[in-house]
């Protein structure tokens, strides 16, 4: 069992590495593989170094970090809420973080104070989780949590559209699509610097929950008797998700379904043990977003296809199948 788990980690790690490299080698400017890698590592050559180090590297780094955040937080939320449908997108966390980010950018606040961007997104994310928990109530069933998430998501989405429509800049309204579906096109190292600290802090919080989540599989009472503080777990899960997904959304827009699909696909492979699911979900999420981000550049070059379109094509049917299974009481 332990060997199989290690093998799974190594395989997923390698897959992520391969996709990360492919992401670095994909782009509208057709560059030779050897030239681009040499430029990336040695910094020799002028324009090609700019492309590799300032355009493609931040894009691949963000794909890696954002994907890992979505996969990891999906695994934690599903374990903590003991709800197969939990996921940052469906709980309204991504949409609310988007709203926070939109407020920071379009009011001009982030121009004066750049940290306002991740901070406002984080605040939006925290607010979403707290509201969903309050709306759904204690010990809520799976569908109640999701309904609350849908309500928060729709409201945040509507407010985002409103803010963008009210902006005096006529281009703002066209950017609704970006905030609803997400994209990594032409992000820069500035975005990496802004988001990375929050994302890393979020990861530390979320990874620290592994043992508590294992105990929680026995039920909250049994976990409490084992010395697990439910309140502490709750706050760590909320803050960890808000920090990582909030910062991710602030620089990429809301990307749905990755946090839902990845933990479900990988759970059977780790024997349904949450502490083991966390690292593999992080790697799986990173692979999924990196792959999606490569595909948007290959399928429709120059059209700026949004990432969320691809994740939804995979994720939405999967979600329907899960709802169907939940309804039959199979979970």
């Amino acid at each position: 069992m332990k060997d199989r788990y290690r093998l799974l980690l190594i395989c997923l790690g390698l897959l992520t590495l391969v996709l990360f490299t492919l992401s670095l080698l994909t782009g509208p400017a057709s560059l030779a593989v050897s030239d681009s890698l040499r430029a990336l590592f040695t910094g020799q050559g002028d324009a090609i170094v700019l492309v590799m180090r300032e355009i493609r590297l931040p894009r691949a780094l963000l794909g890696l970090m954002i994907g890992a955040s979505l996969g990891l937080s999906g695994a934690v939320l599903q374990g903590f809420l003991r709800n197969p449908l939990a996921e940052p997108g469906l709980l309204g966390v991504s949409a609310s973080a988007s709203l926070g980010a939109v407020l920071a950018i379009y009011t001009g606040l982030s121009l004066v104070f750049p940290l306002a961007l991740p901070l406002m997104a984080l605040a939006g994310a925290v607010l979403a989780v707290v509201i969903v928990q309050q709306l759904a109530g204690k010990g809520a069933g799976g569908l109640a949590v999701i309904l609350a998430g849908v309500a928060v998501s729709s409201l945040a989405g509507a407010m985002t559209s409103l803010v963008l429509n009210l902006s005096p800049n006529p281009f703002a309204a066209m950017e609704i699509v970006y905030w609803m579906l997400g994209s990594l096109t032409d992000r820069s190292m500035l975005h990496v610097q802004l988001a990375a600290p929050f994302i890393l802090v979020g990861w530390v919080l979320l990874f620290s929950l592994g043992p508590s989540l294992d105990a929680l599989t026995l039920g909250p009472d049994a976990a409490a008797s084992m010395g697990v503080s439910i309140r502490r777990v709750q706050w760590l899960a909320i803050l960890g998700t808000a920090a990582s997904v909030g910062a991710a959304t602030a620089v990429s827009g809301a990307i749905g379904f990755a946090g839902l699909v990845v933990p479900h696909l990988l759970r059977p492979l780790v024997g349904a043990q949450p502490s083991r699911l966390l690292p593999v979900s992080a790697l799986g999420g990173a692979s999924m977003i990196l792959a999606a981000d490569i595909l948007v550049r290959v399928i429709a070059p120059g059209r700026d296809l949004k990432l969320g379109v691809l994740t939804a094509i995979v994720g939405a049917p999967f979600f329907l199948w899960l709802v169907f299974r939940t309804r039959r009481g199979a979970i």
Partner: protein, 274 residues
């Protein structure tokens, strides 16, 4: 229903009958480009209303001269109440309104956006004809042509190869061949990067490709104070590095969003950087 039909019939009758030989006396324009041409050519009191965009400083060259006109928002209702005898529209904007106004029997004249100086000439002359201001229009075209010839001559006299310029607007759009901005670049004696890359019309030029093609100059412009992601590429470190050292020039969009005699101003600005 019957009442409506009779009303429509009456209106159609009233509006279609007046002889077109007489120049229109109450003109309403619904499109930024027809706004500007009409403002330049109309006689005293002839133009009644222009679109709200005409007073937008970022988009309109004549933004400060709209005070005398009633503002419209391209809505059929407000235009109907104005009872104009000529409505000027663009061939791509306010389509639903245009269809409705035509059905109500108003005289509607459509203008396609100009994609070259040739089309500017044609549109100016056509507008002059519609407004009964033929002489004014002909003089305007003559003055524009003289100015263009002068700029072109001066530009050609300068030594060295013509520099390549990449036009880079909001949302990373650039102009290839068959565009007004491209034609302005050619008249200024510069080489248009979009055309060099084989692009036709207005297309997205990914930042990577702009960086790799190393143009001598990049023309960009941000007309709005309020932020939007559309202009984020202009803040990207890669963009800043490649345009460092005076390669970035500012050409306001308003000169070529719509074609007019003022498009020669853009040619002048471009030619100064040769």
């Amino acid at each position: 229903m019957l009442v409506m039909k009779i009303l429509f019939g009456l209106m159609a009758g009233m509006c279609l009958h007046p002889a077109f030989a007489q120049p229109p006396k109450k003109i309403v324009s619904l499109n930024l480009c027809t706004d500007q041409l009409a403002m330049l050519l109309a006689g005293e009191g002839q133009l009644y209303s222009v679109s709200h965009l005409a007073s937008d400083r970022g988009a309109s060259v004549l933004a400060d001269k709209t005070g005398a006109y009633v503002v419209n928002h391209g809505l059929a209702e407000e235009v109907f109440l104005m009872q104009p005898d000529l409505i000027l529209v663009g061939s791509y904007t306010t389509r639903a309104t245009v269809d409705l106004l035509k059905r109500l029997g108003f005289r509607v004249e459509e203008f396609a956006p100009e994609t070259s100086f040739n089309e500017i000439r044609m549109n100016i002359l056509r507008m002059g004809g519609l407004l009964g201001q033929e002489a004014k229009a002909e003089a305007m075209v003559r003055a524009m042509d003289e100015r263009l010839a002068r700029i072109e001559e001066n530009s050609k006299a300068k030594p060295g190869d013509a520099p390549t310029i990449g036009l880079y607007y909001a949302n990373q759009l650039t102009s290839g061949s068959g565009t007004l901005a491209g034609d302005a670049v050619n008249h200024a004696g510069l080489v248009n990067l979009g055309e060099k890359l084989g692009m036709q019309g207005t297309q997205k030029l990914p930042l990577e490709q702009l960086v790799m093609s190393k143009p001598d100059l990049v023309a960009a412009h941000n007309a709005y104070l309020a932020p939007a992601l559309a202009y984020e590429a202009q803040l990207h470190p890669a963009f800043r590095t490649m345009t460092a050292g005076g390669k970035l020039i500012d050409i306001p969009d308003k000169y070529w969003i719509c074609g007019g005699p003022f498009t020669a101003d853009a040619v002048q600005l471009l030619a100064e950087h040769r």
